[in-house]
């Protein structure tokens, strides 16, 4: 069977993928024509291109994939004519290819309204990677930009402009509100307010009448007489099905565009199918990827003798637009006598939720979520599967109040045919049976085996719930185990290692585990051993259980060299020590930078230079900064009462005392701290794992703060403490964290998961509710007393020192592949190859 597919977009590709998977090799001969120069890529995540993804990252399958699967792919070669009589297509480059079946997957183009001036330079559409490249080139010249279209694609385009660094971005929408197809007026109001907070200017009810300027755009004018100066314009006002080829070939098309198809995706010619955004089914163009995939499924099913039909598609969507959740499902706008609507609007947090319920209160008909769409998956399933609603229907959007909410009960109530992943159309039944029969016990395994969750990814939380639910149903006890080698949680393992007095990775595996360890359990066990016994981490046998940075006592950097961070307690350093750092950096040709933690990082050290670099630093009185370890990093300080006219206490001296007490302490994750000399908080102590702020009467102690990707303020644990008590509480706090946190959980995450939260923690630390405090203080003292500088121990031990060479059989040679480039009178690592 000879099949020609015209169009190599997401739906065209999906059609190829399904054919390869389902048709016997050799039974068909597939030829694909694509107009663009690259093979199909993920258009849904196009704006990720500006957030740093490359064209390769977005590619769905490489040209090799097509070749390996026997598909002939012609790129940059649009089909210009179809001869339906002899069943032959002719391409722009002069190819003539016969077919038995033809699939039109020509997609859509941007709809460009006929506004005078649209041809000017600086006016773009937002559709292909080429469009993005053109925008990227123009953007540096632009201070102001505008987008025509306040729908889904228009807001994506606005996000792209923000990512391109445009200072002032305007969104122009013809309708009275944003996203008129998905959300109602109140929801659009909340969305508008949120987007305006991010610096977007939103103009609704605006009809653009002209684009002004000379060769390039300078301003836009509107029907209400307003004018907007702008250097750049992106038109994203909707899509126009690409039906010109079909039309020229005499296939039936709709009056407003689109190739008319029946429920089998057949056009008016029995040998020609049309799928995706070019297909007009039942008077409707489906402008989303999931229905396009479903159409591809119908075609492949027909070609393999099935009788599947397309019966329309649920257009429920959940999106993250510029960081704001927007979702709609079922019939979002339905109203009238037979419908009751429940609305929750929180103008302060920017959350809007609406659900439409049948008059008898038995059925969820649809709804809208803006600002918080966490409940989307469950609401969608409730709506689609007509699940029984709770007695207090408002619980659906407000959560159960006053009782225990059980998220797990939600997935259990779904019928087996409930569609969980609509991109790949995978049902609950399929996911559950891949757990029970296929042995997939993780989300990753499910993704690999069923493809569920590999499209937009919106269903992943639900897949996770389903995995846990299925495992539970099988009677498997779901435990928070470390990995396949240890059937214990970190906390259990910690206690067992202590009780059995285990001192090495091998002994832990022999006594408590199975197999030979992995990159998850090895560093976790190594960290527990270090937290418990305080022994040098590179002790024979344990060195290779350390995470690779710990193993070489330095952070591996791009290109394979390492960075060196000497400890500078409290950020205080003498001129002489500064000079030594400069001399060492010069001697070993290192790039130097001040870190965020008030110390100095030296980059670009060859592995074999590390011991000599450290020998010189140690000679000058430096010691390891443990920047490579899940350990105490820095205790930042402001200058405090020794110099500052506002300072209440000597924050620098206290920071040094704290840093020197806990230096080298190994923990489930890195620990950061800071001490501020007054409430102005210049040391930013409230963003640290533990932070100390001077008060008139002593110190306030804050815990479990975090910077990073999910910033979280630290919470006040105790106030007006004297210096000794403050340290006592920190001892207890750290030991409690070290003993009970999951691997790689920062203190903030640890507290967030703790039942009872900060009140419980305060009870444990201050009121000693667990009766552990005395023991913890003693254990901490033991660790403090057993501290030694790891680098000092390493350079003095020939066995350990020997490991710092690149070639075991040529220790004097450095890695010849390491390359640097010049950068502002210093150097940088060469870019990834």
């Amino acid at each position: 069977m000879r099949i020609v597919i015209i169009g190599n977009g997401m739906v065209g590709y999906k059609c190829c993928e399904k054919m390869v998977a389902r048709m016997a090799p050799g039974s068909m001969e597939i030829t694909v024509f694509g107009e663009e120069s690259r093979p199909a890529y993920d258009r849904v995540h196009l704006s990720a291109y500006f957030a740093g993804k490359t064209a390769e990252d977005l590619t769905l399958a490489t040209a090799d994939w097509y070749a390996e699967n026997g598909i002939t792919l012609y790129l940059s070669d649009p089909v210009t004519r179809i001869d339906r009589e002899v069943r032959m297509v002719y391409s722009h480059q002069g190819l003539a290819v016969p077919y038995d079946y033809l699939v039109l997957a020509t997609g859509s183009s941007a709809f460009v309204p006929a506004i005078p001036g649209v041809e000017k330079e600086g006016v773009f559409i937002y559709r292909t990677i080429e469009d993005l490249e053109l925008m990227t080139r123009w953007a540096p010249k632009a201070k102001t930009a505008a987008v025509i279209g306040g729908g889904l694609l228009g807001l994506e385009a606005a996000k792209a402009l923000i990512d391109l660094g445009i200072k002032s971005t305007h969104v122009i929408e013809f309708a009275p509100r944003l996203m008129p197809r998905q959300i109602d007026e109140a929801g659009a109001g909340i969305l508008k307010a949120k987007l305006e907070l991010l610096g977007l200017s939103i103009h609704t009810n605006k009809n653009t009448t002209a684009i002004e300027g000379g060769e390039h755009i300078e301003a836009m004018s509107f029907s209400d007489g307003d004018r907007l100066k702008t250097d750049m314009l992106v038109i994203s006002a909707g899509i126009k099905p690409r039906d010109e080829l079909a039309r020229a070939s005499g296939l039936a098309t709709g009056s407003r565009g689109g190739i008319i198809v029946n429920e089998h995706m057949l056009t008016s010619d029995q040998n020609i199918f049309a799928i995706g955004e070019c297909a007009l089914y039942n008077g409707m163009i489906y402008g989303l990827v999931a229905p396009g995939y479903e159409m591809a499924e119908v075609v492949v099913n027909r070609l393999t003798g099935g009788d599947k039909s397309f019966t329309g598609f649920d257009m429920s969507t959940k999106l993250k637009l510029i960081g704001t959740d927007v979702a709609s499902f079922g019939d979002p706008f339905i109203s009238g006598e037979e419908v009751k609507t429940i609305v929750m609007e929180d103008g302060y947090k920017g959350v809007y939720k609406r659900i439409n319920i049948s008059r008898d209160g038995k059925e969820l008909l649809g709804g809208i979520l803006v600002g918080d769409a966490a409940a989307y998956n469950m609401l969608l399933q409730t709506c689609k599967n007509k699940l029984v609603l709770p007695p207090n229907v408002e619980d659906l959007i407000l959560g159960a109040r006053g009782g225990e909410g059980d998220a797990g009960a939600g997935v259990a109530a779904l019928p087996d045919e409930a569609l969980i992943c609509s991109c790949e159309s995978i049902s609950k039944g399929a996911i559950c049976s891949s757990v029970t029969d296929g042995g997939c016990e993780t989300v990753e395994a499910i993704k690999k085996c069923t493809k569920a969750g590999t499209g937009c990814g919106g269903c992943i939380p639900m897949i996770k719930d389903l995995v846990n639910h299925s495992l539970k149903a099988q009677g498997k006890y779901i435990r928070n185990v470390l990995c396949e080698h240890f059937q214990y949680s970190r906390q259990e393992l910690f206690d067992l290692i202590r009780i059995h007095d285990i001192r090495s990775m091998d002994a832990a595996l022999d006594k408590l585990g199975s197999g030979h360890g992995c990159e998850t359990c090895k560093p976790a066990v190594a960290s527990i051993l270090a937290s418990l016994w305080g022994e040098m981490i590179l002790k024979k046998g344990n060195a290779t259980a350390q995470d690779s940075n710990d193993r070489f006592l330095a952070n591996i950097q791009k290109g394979g060299t390492y960075s060196v961070v000497p400890r500078i307690p409290g950020g205080e350093i003498s001129p002489d020590k500064l000079i030594v750092i400069g001399q060492v950096a010069k001697k070993y040709n290192l790039y130097t930078k001040i870190t965020g933690g008030q110390r100095i990082d030296l980059f670009g050290a060859h592995l074999s230079d590390l011991p000599s670099i450290w020998e010189e630093l140690i000679e000058a009185g430096f010691e390891s900064g443990h920047a490579y370890g899940k350990a105490l990093r820095t205790v930042k300080s402001c200058v405090g009462s020794t110099w500052c006219r506002f300072g209440l206490h000597d924050s620098v001296s206290y920071a040094i005392r704290v840093e020197e007490r806990y230096r080298g302490l190994r923990a489930p994750h890195k620990i950061k701290s800071a001490v501020s000399g007054c409430i102005r908080e210049c040391a930013e102590a409230q963003s640290k794992d533990f932070g100390i702020i001077a008060t008139e009467k002593g110190w306030n102690l804050y815990v479990c703060g975090n910077g990073g990707s999910k910033p979280q303020h630290a919470l006040l644990l105790a106030n007006d403490l004297d210096s000794e008590t403050c340290i006592k509480y920190i001892d207890r706090f750290l030991m409690f964290y070290i003993r009970t946190a999951d691997p790689l959980a920062r203190t903030a995450t640890w507290l967030n998961k703790m039942e009872g939260g900060i009140d419980y923690l305060r009870n444990v630390i201050i009121n000693d509710s667990l009766g552990m405090c005395e023991q913890w203080e003693a254990e901490m003292q033991l660790l403090v007393d057993s501290y030694e500088c790891e680098w000092k121990a390493a350079v003095e031990n020939p066995e350990i020192r020997k490991r710092f060479s690149h070639f075991v059989n040529a220790p004097e040679e450095k890695d010849p592949t390491v390359q640097f480039e010049a950068l502002r009178s210093q150097k940088r690592a060469a870019e990834w190859k």
Partner: protein, 113 residues
Amino acid sequence: MYQENSSSWTFACYTHDVPENGGVCVKVNEQQIALFHFTRIDAWYATQNQCPHRRQMALSRGMIGTQGEIPKVACPFHKKTFSLETGECLNGDECSIETYGVKVEGDKVFIGI
């Protein structure tokens, strides 16, 4: 997983040069080879030293372990893991690494390339 016939054995290092349950990088001709020793079961493996993901010469510095029965190494850069028997990437990626034979005579380790 190596062809004993087509390869010639090159002396790499002594057994005690390789850390317990860890790896080293060996220079063979102008190639960089990662050599691993599972002390626990006295098993030896050799692969290319370059991680194909970002083309970094780093596999010898990675952590070794097992996934089920498969011995593996995790690249220190982004924790891509590879089977030491077949060289296939165990995270489902397309890339794979070359593997080589290893033989030990007395305290001498040889790599078959």
